[in-house]
């Protein structure tokens, strides 16, 4: 998931000349949403929305599982992460094919 998120964001270079800012924001969100703070700390109304983003599945759920194993949570985490890997793989292949059509090869 980490690789695919960064891959999709990096490919914005097909459209914008300077894309480092997208990666900064992604890194900070990864840190804040589930690495620095447990997801339980966030208001209850936020949590369903967090699960609609990769950040709700990246760091905190695996760490929590390692600390307090629960087979139901393990299954839920595995299916959630698999869904995100598939979605991000599809997104990266779509973004790459759209972006590569904009590339003008100058030889060399």
């Amino acid at each position: 998931m980490v690789f695919l998120c960064q891959f999709v964001l990096s490919m914005t270079a097909f459209w914008v000349e300077e894309n480092a800012a997208f990666l900064w924001i992604h890194q900070k969100l990864t840190l804040v949403l589930g690495t620095f703070l447990p997801l339980e700390f966030f208001p209850a109304t936020w949590r369903p929305w967090l699960e609609l983003t990769p950040y709700g599945w990246l760091c905190y759920p695996p760490a929590r599982l390692a600390a307090a194993y629960d087979p139901n949570q393990a299954l839920r985490l595995l299916s959630g992460q698999t869904a995100w890997v598939l979605a991000l793989s599809l997104a990266s292949s779509l973004v790459f094919s759209a972006g590569s059509q904009r590339t003008a090869v100058q030889g060399g």
Partner: protein
């Protein structure tokens, strides 16, 4: 002095014109940096919502940290954008172009670049200000501490980077020192154990950059004002002295360069 002010204004104008040449990437970096900083406020807001306050620091006080730190860091890199490249210029022998000109080479080298994302840091700090205070005295003090903080950043970075005259490539050490100063500046002083706080007023000057200025902003305890200004100017003078001492060891890279 007037000639230096004119050079400063002209170089700043040229730097702004250079970054505006690529307007969209510039704006992406500015707004990206502002969002990047805002992500940390989510962290503090959620944390303090649970803890109430952190050893006397409430969310409003943390806002001061996150306004003053980025705005001072931003101003330092907007105006003296080469401060963290100085070591590289020294090691690669790229100072020739500044040595051949009549103005002070350190001053000229430092101002010769602006960092686009730093404009986002600078604006971000001032954008947070209305959420912290509407008191004109405190707003004026904040602007003043942004300047003294920028001088502390530049003095500290120049000092560390000038060690390249003796130590060669010091990118790793310089990056570590930068991270230390930046990270200490962005956390409340009281989260650190009392015995280690002397570091913030000696080796890593985060105390003069953030903690003392925020104390003055909170309490209007004016006696610290001259101390903060003196340390900022003192650090700048120390870095100039170290740079000049190191310059005797400088070896040119024989690269051709020019300043128009």
């Amino acid at each position: 002095m007037r000639a230096y002010a004119r050079l400063f204004a002209e170089v700043l104008r040229a730097n702004v014109a250079a970054v505006m040449e690529y307007r969209i990437p510039f704006l992406v970096q500015v707004f990206g940096m502002m969002l990047n900083n805002a992500a940390f406020l989510i962290f503090w807001a959620v944390l303090i919502r649970h803890t109430g306050s952190i050893r006397g620091w409430r969310f409003g006080d943390v806002l001061y940290l996150w306004a003053l730190g980025p705005s001072a860091f931003g101003l330092a890199h907007v105006v003296f954008g080469n401060a963290r490249q100085l070591g590289l210029l020294i090691v690669q022998g790229d100072l020739d172009v500044y040595l051949l000109q009549p103005k002070d080479p350190l001053f000229h080298a430092l101002i010769s670049r602006t960092v686009p994302s730093a404009w986002g840091d600078l604006v971000y700090g001032f954008m947070l200000l209305p959420f912290i205070t509407h008191d004109p005295v405190r707003i004026g003090l904040f602007a003043l501490f942004t300047v003294t903080g920028a001088l502390v950043f530049v003095g500290f970075f120049s000092l560390v980077q000038s060690l390249a005259f003796w130590l060669g490539n010091i990118t790793g050490l310089a990056n570590t020192m930068t991270e230390l100063l930046l990270n200490f500046t962005l956390y409340p002083e009281t989260v650190f154990p009392q015995p280690m706080r002397w570091v913030f007023y000696t080796l890593i000057p985060a105390g003069f950059l953030a903690f003392l200025p925020i104390h003055v902003l909170r309490t209007l305890d004016w006696k610290w004002l001259p101390v903060i200004a003196a340390v900022a100017l003192g650090l700048l003078m120390a870095s100039t002295a170290v740079f000049r001492a190191g310059l005797r060891r400088y070896e040119s890279g024989n690269a051709l360069g020019g300043r128009v």
